[in-house]
Each structure stands twice: as C-alpha cells, then as structure tokens.
C-alpha cells in the first residue's frame, strides 16, 4: 500500500537477542529483519514466548545489561542522518529514548510512578529532551493531555496515578510518549489489560495521533482482532523466528505459512460460531435448575471518616436473578468491575450475600457457613483465571488432582492413583506427568491440570472464572474443545465467567450480560449476540475488534469516551427496583427496563 511512497524510519537487520542462563545460552530473537515506514502501523504479532516484547526492548537498550546479548543492526533515520542504535552507548541511547522512539506498555495500572504527579511525570520527559522552561513544558504537557482526549487536563496535572482509571492512565502514557513528537511509537500490548470499550477508544486515539504527527507505530500484540482493526502491515513471529510479513489484507486473506493459518483459524470470531444446543436441556422448564438465584445482592461496606463508620457501600451484585440448568453453559459477560466474578463467588457462598436467595438443586443455601457448604463443594468446583497461581508449586500435580478424591473419600486408596491417571489422560495429558511439579508445565497444560482437578470428584457444576484469558489463542481453542467434550460426556453445567464475547459465543448456550452489578440482558446466546436489545450490550458488541481487515471499522466509528460509573452508593440512597422483561415468546430473551437510562449520553469524540 504505502510501501513505495513512505520513507523508512527504522531499518532492522539480523537482530538477535540471547540470554545467558547459567552455562547455557537461550536465543529468544533470531535474526529478525524488517523496516518501519513513516506514518504506518506495523503490527508485530505472536503468542507468548515469541520474543516480540524482548525485540522491541532490545532496540532501545532496555534489556538487563548483564544477561542479554544483542547483535545485529538497527538504523534509525532522524533529521536526515542515520544512527545505528545497537552500537550506541547508554548515554547516546538516552537521547533517542522518549525523544525519537517512545514506548507505551501493557499494564497502565503499574506503568506510572505512584508517588509522582501526572504533571511531574509528563514534564520530566519533556525537559530532558527539549530546551524549554518549566512553564513552557507545563503548557506543552497540558496540551498533550488534551490531545489524548483527557477531560480537565489542567486539573490532572496535579493528580496522582491512583486517581485515574486504567483507560485514563493509558491516555497519560500516550500523551507522555508523544510529547517529544517521536518518529516511532512502540506500543507493547497497549490495550491488552483494558476492557473492550476502552480498548476501542485507545486504538482510535493512537491512530488519530499517528496520522496527526506522522509517527510510525510498532504495535506489538497477540490479538488478531486488534491487528485487523489497526494495522497497515503485519509481521508474524513465533518462538523468536520470523514467520511471515505483508500487508494486513495479504496476511489475513492469503496467509502463506501454516502457523499463520493456524493462528488465524484459532481466533474466535463473533457472529460465526454458534454453539450446537445440547439435547438434554431441550425442555428447560421441566428440569429442576441446579442453581436458582432470586434477587441476589452482594454489597461491600466502605468505611470512612474518623470512626470508620459505614457511609456507603459498593453494590457489586445488585438484584440478580438467574437459573442454571443441568448440562447447560451459562456465560456471565461484563467488563471489569461489573460484578461477574463476585456473583460467581457469591453462588458458592465464598462471599456473603446481603439479600436475595440462592437455591442449589431446590435447597435454599443462602448464607450457609463454610462447614455447611463443605459436603456440597464436591458438586460445585471452580477453575480460575491464572493457571500459574492456582496450583500449589510445592506439590506434584498428581497430588493436586488426587486431593479432592481424598477429601471427599471418593475411591479406595488403591484405586485412587489409577483414577488420577485416567483423569490426566482424559484432559489430554499423560499419566506419567503425575510425578512432575506445576512449574514444569506450560500455561495451557496447567489449565488442563486445573480442569482435571475440577472434574475429579464428578461435580454437577463448574464455575470457570476467566479460565481462558491467560492463554494464547491456539491453546485457548484446544481448551474450549476439551471443556465442550467433557461437558457432553459428563453432563456438567458450566457457569462461564468471561469478558470475551467471541469465546462466550462459542461455548455458551445462554448468556447474561452484566453492567454495574446488574444483569442487563439475558437469553439464548445467538439471540443476544445477534440481536442485542440493551444499549450497553450493543455498545459492548460494537467495541469488539473483528479479526478481518475487510470488515474492520472500529477506527472509523464515532466512539463514546465515557467511562463506567462507580458502583459505590450512599447507604441512604434508594436503589430502584430492577425489572427485566422477556421480549420473545419462543425461548428467552430478558432485557432490563432501564436501557434508555444506561444509553451513552455523550456520543462525542472530542472531550477536550
């Protein structure tokens, strides 16, 4: 497209990075060569361990000096002269960092220094590279915050990072990175930690400023949807190796390499993959629901003032009613802070509920103590998001999977080992793996171990809290397949908590969309996703990036820059009754009556 007209700003040749690990040397980036053109977005795509982040840090000399060995060439053209980055001293490189090449990172919550004000952090970068007075730097910083569409920019200068939301902090990072008008902006997974609606805002912002300043963007990401929406050219990496490169259209429509094809095929695409309904739940109404929840509320006290009195409460879950039937998958979807995880935990009495009733197989279990719940735990299991943190590192994985069998006295001592072996094979691992420790497995394998542990005592329900979010797409696809086949075989119900609408569409029979602690829309998955009725569901679906450059339109749409309001309410505030209406006669499709109230009020793009 732009390959012939735009000048090359950065030309990388034979870039290799290796790390010394004791006596051995591990090469994580192998002889990468590529060009970055002025004003284009080059997406560097790869799964975890592909070396994409390490490569970008190597360009700026940000890798630990002692252990990393960088070789090759990286020519940066600035003001007509060529500079070879990799051979520069740290002192000369410092003049490039933040000045000619700027970076933003994945985690906006931790990327800003907590003890310095936003203004100080913006101004120190400006003052390092530009011959400006403090007051000039201040004005430039304010105007950069305005460019980044941060409302009340002048007031933000004196604020500290903890006073801003994740999306706002990422805007500050962008303002900071672009303040010195760099030739290249390296954005390392800039939207991965953000909710989809915020992700859309940030991608659009980066794109607008890129055009405005003619900055080249190196967008490092694992998300093919983001690539299709935002990139001009793509560079695919795998385990440090170059796989292929080309324009977005080329790579998506005619991927040359088998790996790129697998990668693209693994991406769940919204609106394409409806789940086959399970036969056993055809007559929903006849079956006794496993979970029957009515008007459930979970509130957390906020203590304030001199005497720590409760003046307000976080309404984490607000008047939620739902049913989970045997053998079905119900997905809870929502953005961070919507209360979906809290709801999942409240169902198991892991967090105390403040009002409403929870029935499990017809029995009222509301407010049951831990000891009363214990016999029931056998029937309800959980899988968590982080497979690294949810396995005790000091126990063998065999012992971990065996634990529930022992606890609930499911089979005799002699049978137990054999049963664990069967479970390992059932989830696609080998029985020989039993004697190994968690750190010897990859993320995907660990999640399989967690699944084996969850199904060990043959539960009726599994609550899966974001259990796929930490996995690469190709691994994700395999784990989805495993969960589905297990469900069909064992008839387990799944309460699937997720923020990813495309995955939810693949896996769930019914979906409940949560917003500020309430379910705003609930019904058959295909119906809710294809014909969303509630304004929030519509907004959520619109923001999902489409992994198809021919359909990508996120950057051209006007975007709502509003943020999710706070769920903290005063104790004196009256909470309106939450009503939902079924809008269909066949099946179910409940929509909250407050759709108009939640509708985006300010569909404006420029807040500044």
């Amino acid at each position: 497209m732009a390959e012939t007209q735009s000048p090359v700003v950065l030309s990388v040749a034979d870039l290799s990075v290796s790390f010394k690990q004791g006596a051995s040397v591990k090469t994580v980036v192998k002889a990468m060569s590529f060009d970055v053109l002025a004003g284009e977005t080059l997406a560097v795509v790869g799964e975890s361990g592909s070396g994409k982040s390490v490569m970008s840090r190597a360009l700026l000399g940000l890798l630990p000096a002692g252990s990393a060995d960088v070789s090759g060439q990286a020519m940066l053209s600035k003001q007509g002269e060529q500079v070879e980055l990799l051979s520069l001293s740290d002192q000369s490189l410092r003049k490039v960092r933040g000045n000619h090449i700027a970076m933003i990172f994945q985690e906006p919550m931790t990327a800003l220094t907590p003890v310095l004000s936003i203004g100080e952090q913006l101004m120190e970068g400006i003052l390092t590279h530009q011959p400006l007075s403090r007051s000039e730097a201040f004005e430039l910083a304010v105007s950069m915050l305005q460019e980044a569409r941060i409302p009340e920019a002048r007031k933000r200068m004196a604020q500290y990072p903890h006073q801003l939301s994740g999306g706002m902090r990422q805007r500050v990072m962008i303002a900071m990175a672009l303040a010195c008008r760099p030739r290249i902006l390296i954005a390392d997974e800039p939207t991965t930690a953000l909710d989809v609606t915020v992700q859309a805002q940030i991608l659009k912002l980066i794109n607008t400023l890129k055009t405005q300043y003619n900055t080249a963007v190196m967008l490092i990401t694992h998300d093919m949807g983001v690539v299709a929406e935002a990139a001009d050219r793509v560079l695919v990496m795998r385990r440090g190796d170059f796989v292929e490169a080309g324009s977005v259209q080329q790579v998506f429509s005619k991927p040359k390499q088998a790996y790129t094809q697998t990668l693209l095929a693994s991406v769940p695409k919204l609106g394409s993959s409806a789940k086959q309904p399970i036969a056993t739940i055809a007559e929903n109404d006849a079956a006794v629901p496993l979970f029957d929840v009515a008007d459930l509320c979970v509130q957390f006290d906020v203590r304030e003032g001199l005497f720590n009195r409760v003046r307000s409460r976080v309404h984490a879950v607000e008047q939620v009613s739902l049913k989970l039937f045997p053998g079905e998958t119900l997905a809870l979807v929502g953005e961070s802070g919507s209360g979906k995880s809290t709801l999942g935990r409240a169902l198991l009495n892991l967090v105390p509920s403040s009002a409403g009733a929870i029935r499990f197989r017809g029995r009222d279990i509301t407010g049951w103590s831990a000891s009363m719940m214990r016999p029931l735990r056998k029937q309800i299991q959980m899988i968590f998001q982080d497979p690294f943190a949810s396995l005790n590192p000091r126990k063998t994985v065999g012992a971990l999977v065996e634990e529930p069998l022992k606890l609930f006295d499911i089979c005799s001592d002699s049978e137990r080992k054999q049963r664990v072996g069967e479970l390992f094979e059932r989830v696609g691992l080998s029985a020989d793996d039993m004697t190994r420790y968690p750190h010897q497995f990859s993320g995907g394998q660990r999640q399989r171990i967690c699944i084996a542990r969850a199904i060990a005592c043959e539960p009726r329900v599994i609550v899966a809290d974001e259990c796929l979010s930490a996995l690469d797409v190709t691994v994700q696809a395999q784990v989805i397949e495993l969960l589905q086949s297990l469900q069909q075989e064992l008839g387990i119900s799944l309460l699937f908590i997720s923020h990813d609408l495309a995955v939810v569409e693949q896996i769930s029979d019914r979906v409940a969309v949560m917003y500020m602690g309430r379910i705003v829309e609930m019904g058959d998955t295909a119906r809710v996703i294809n014909r969303p009725q509630h304004s929030y569901t519509q907004r959520l679906l619109e923001a999902v990036p489409v992994a198809d450059p021919t359909k990508a339109s996120l950057l051209n749409r006007p975007l709502n820059n509003s943020e999710i309001p706070s769920p903290v309410r005063s104790i004196f505030e009256e909470i309106p009754r939450h009503n939902m209406t079924n809008i269909t006669s066949i099946g179910e499709h409940y929509v909250a009556d407050d759709s108009a109230a939640v509708a985006p009020s300010d569909v404006t793009e420029d807040v500044a």
């Binding site: 700026l60 940000l62 410092r94 003049k95 490039v96 960092r97 933040g98 000045n99 700027a102 970076m103 990172f105 985690e107 931790t110 990327a111 800003l112 220094t113 907590p114 003890v115 310095l116 004000s117 120190e124 970068g125 390092t128 590279h129 500290y160 903890h162 006073q163 990072m173 900071m176 304030e304 003032g305 001199l306």
Partner: protein, 307 residues
C-alpha cells in the same frame, strides 16, 4: 489526611492510656506484699513504718481508687518519689532523658544511613558480590548480641587502643555506644531496604522512566527510591521501639548516664515508683516516634496525603 492524622493521634492516646493501666496494676503482679519486698533490704524498717509507706503509696485502697489517685497525680506531672532518697521521679527522669535521646537518635541516624545505603546497593547489585558481602554482614549484625558486641568494642577501642574514653558523657564517649546500638538495627534496616528496593526495581514504572530517556540517577532516586521509602518508613517506627529496648542494656554496658541505666538500678533496688515512671516514659517516647513515622508515611504516600 486530617482524618488519617486524627485517627493516628487517637490510637496513640489510647495506647498511652492502656500503658497507664498496665503500669498502675503492675505492682500487684509481684508475688507477696510489694511494700515488704521493696524494703526487704533494709531490716530496720518497723511494721508501723511499712504501714505508713503502704498508705502513702495508696496500696491500702481499692484498685480503682488507686488508679484514680495515680492518674490524678500523673496529670499534674507528679510521678511520685523514689524509695531510695525520696527524689521526684519526674525530675530524675527528665534529668537523664536527654542523654538517652541523644544516644538512641544518633544510633537511629547511623542505622538509617548505613542500613539504607547498603540495602540500596545490595538491591541494585542483586546476586553480585557487593550484595553477597553486604548481606553476610547483616547476618552477623543480627546474630551478635548487643551486650557482647558492646563489651568487645569497649575492650578493643577503649581499653586496648585507647581511642575513645571508657566511660563519661562527652561526644567522644557517645561514639561506641551509638555504633553498638546501631549495628543490629542497621542490619535489620539493610535487609528491609534491600527486599523493598528489589521489589521496586522490578516495577513497570521504572521501565517507563528509562524509556523516557531519563538519566540513571533520576530513575534510581526520583522514581525508585521515592517509591521504596514508603514501605521502609512504615517499619522504622517499630525498629525504633526495639532500639529503645536495646538502649537499656547498652547504657549499662557503657555506663552512659541515661534513663535505661537508671532503670536497671531501680530494678535492682526494687524502686517501684521509679520503674513505673520509667516504663511510662519509654512507652510515651515509642508512641511519639511511631506517630511521627506515620506522619512521614502519610506525607510520602500521595494516596493518603490527598484524602
């Protein structure tokens, strides 16, 4: 910030009040008759005199009544008189207190400077030889009992080498006890600073600061150290309390004329009013210092300062 401040002051007042309760009832925890034990060494005291002393100490009244009298006097600054010599306890403590504060505060300063610098260097050079050397040093510092270290430095630097006076109250005499008292605390602070800074060095925001093109001192001091100070300051208050305890022994070893040495003498002489006064005085200092540290903490942490 004001709310935070008021909460701290309230809990400080509560702590002091609980201490007065403990002090007042402490005397009854002694097995047997406190008055007889106090005067056990002087056989000449007659039973009538003992009764009179018991009455003057208020020990013949109910516990509640005793506490009310004790507090009433305390609020007027009257901590009673010593059994040996009938001196005012408050005056005696005030006379000796500056010496103790001079010793503990100079030891604290030394400990912060040495512990802070070595912990920071060890964290920066994590896993390399400076880290290993410094951390081995801290193990020694923590393991060696202060009284033993005191005797060793005393015999080495004062007796053998004659660099410092063996006893006395001048600045020259301050060096050895202050260093001895600081040694153990410097080791503890060094380890705390090291682990805190290792944590801070791994934070994303330092990468952001480096990617901005800031110089190394700016990254290390402005971004890393300022963030690291918050958790470090939060433990300093407690470290000071330990140090006050250590000062009692050190003052005795080096014959430093402070409150701690006075307390040990009082304990040997069963001088209860003096012991009570000493305990109250020490706990008030510890409470004051921890309030000061809490204030510093709040000032350093914008999350508290801005409230």
């Amino acid at each position: 910030m004001t709310t935070y401040l008021l909460q701290r002051l309230m809990s400080a007042a509560l702590t002091v009040w609980i201490t007065t309760l403990a002090i007042c009832f402490l005397i009854h925890l002694v097995p047997g008759d406190p008055v007889q034990i106090m005067y056990a060494q002087s056989a000449t005291t007659s039973p009538e005199q003992l009764e009179q002393i018991r009455h003057s100490l208020g020990l013949d009244r109910s516990i509640i009544h005793q506490y009310i009298i004790y507090m009433g006097k305390l609020l007027q600054g009257d901590m009673g008189v010593t059994i040996r010599g009938q001196q005012s306890v408050a005056e005696l403590l005030l006379l000796r207190l500056p010496n103790t504060l001079l010793l503990t505060l100079s030891a604290l300063t030394l400990a912060i400077v040495f512990g802070g610098v070595s912990g920071f260097i060890a964290a920066y050079k994590q896993g390399q030889w400076p880290d290993k050397v410094l951390m081995t040093g801290t193990v020694v510092g923590i393991s060696v009992p202060p009284f033993w270290l005191g005797l060793i430095v005393l015999s080495l630097f004062s007796v053998e080498l004659g660099w410092f006076p063996v006893a006395g109250q001048g600045l020259g005499s301050l060096v050895l006890p202050a260093v001895t008292l600081a040694a153990c605390q410097a080791a503890v602070i060094g380890r705390i600073v090291r682990s805190t800074m290792i944590d801070v060095f791994a934070q994303d925001y330092l990468l952001t600061a480096r990617a901005k093109g800031l110089s190394k001192p700016k990254v290390l001091l402005r971004h890393a150290l300022r963030s690291g100070l918050i958790p470090i300051v939060s433990v300093l208050g407690m470290q000071f309390a330990y140090m006050m305890g250590g000062a009692i022994v050190i003052e005795y070893v080096f014959s430093w004329n402070g409150v701690g040495r006075l307390a040990i003498q009082a304990i040997f002489q069963r001088d209860y009013p003096l012991i009570q006064g000493f305990v109250l005085c020490f706990s008030m200092i510890v409470v004051l210092v921890s309030v000061a540290m809490d204030l510093l903490y709040a000032f350093l942490d914008p999350r508290i300062r801005q409230e």
